[in-house]
Symmetry: C2
Subunit: 191 residues, 2 copies
């Protein structure tokens, strides 16, 4: 769990004694490639901090079409937060794209840590602040229907990810064809 301590300390210093207590709230979990961490209809009991691996979160619409909400990489926090915060059933799926390890934290664990430590309340607020900003950028890029802008937003959100994720998923995330993706990739690389 050393990585988690380092990760928290990017935002706030914590003592070894504090971390020894904090880590008791986390549960380790290994996930195999193609395994679902969360499925549409599941009650969302945990959020996850990724020790290693890559995940893909997607929604299936009423016509059975998949829409990728996000990818999640090492050091990222993720879940179906809408369902997690309200302790309801998920309406998304989260699948593992490469053998992974995650640390699981329940909502009551999160709230207890935030309540007992002002610095953990601060940590979670700062993480939400970046997540909120990233979502706002995603909404604008979806609304403005500009594939180039969407691609640039993607590249800034997921630097160096092109080699790690099959291009078909990147094209699906951006809502463009494979051909358009190749063109965006080569145009933007030349800029």
């Amino acid at each position: 769990m050393d990585g988690l301590k380092k990760h928290i300390e990017e935002i706030t210093p914590i003592t070894n004694e504090e971390f020894d207590y904090i880590k008791t709230f986390f549960k380790e979990k290994k996930v195999k490639k193609h395994q679902y961490l969360l499925q549409d209809g599941d009650k969302v009991t945990s959020e996850y901090w990724i020790v290693k691996g890559i995940f893909r979160a997607f929604h299936i619409d009423k016509d059975g079409k998949e829409h990728i909400l996000q990818f999640a990489l090492e050091n990222w926090w993720f879940s179906d937060y809408n369902a997690f915060f309200s302790q309801k059933e998920s309406n998304i799926n989260i699948v593992c794209m490469d053998d992974a390890e995650v640390l699981c934290l329940t909502l009551s664990g999160r709230e207890q840590l935030a309540s007992e430590f002002h610095k953990m309340e601060h940590f979670f607020r700062m993480k939400l602040t970046s997540g909120y900003s990233a979502q706002q950028r995603r909404i604008i890029s979806l609304l403005s229907n500009n594939p180039k802008k969407r691609y640039e937003e993607f590249a800034s959100l997921y630097p160096n990810i092109m080699q790690k994720i099959p291009k078909k998923y990147i094209a699906e995330y951006l809502g463009v064809s494979r051909e358009t993706l190749s063109r965006l990739y080569s145009t933007t690389s030349r800029d």
Copy 2:
């Protein structure tokens, strides 16, 4: 500023003495109908808590087309948060739809309040939690391209708003024609 105290106390109790100090961080501002609170290119120095009035936040894409990100009503916090948190220039516009009063809070003010009071750190985290969930629902509704779902999401986010906002803006927010909006409205009302 009594409304603000009541609003904070929906999440955490505060004493009169604490609030007397907290309120010194807020600056009152009156905004006229049609007045811009924020324009594309402005440096975003404040977030706003709406005492009264309605606002519309929109992005203008490269083809000059407007896309509505959100409406904001009494008791809501809003800003271009992506730009506010990073203290950069806005890429959205926020316009007043009805004579309004807001309370302005700077980022340094927000951070100082959160740092000095654990309960204010908690308050801001809880507000971000709901905002984050609402944005996730908006992303899913945009991705799934299902006007009925978008309408239902709109109705749950903005209850009783139909009388307060001209229908053309609601249709624009949903990305549907006025005719489709009327159909959705009558279908959903009958459900």
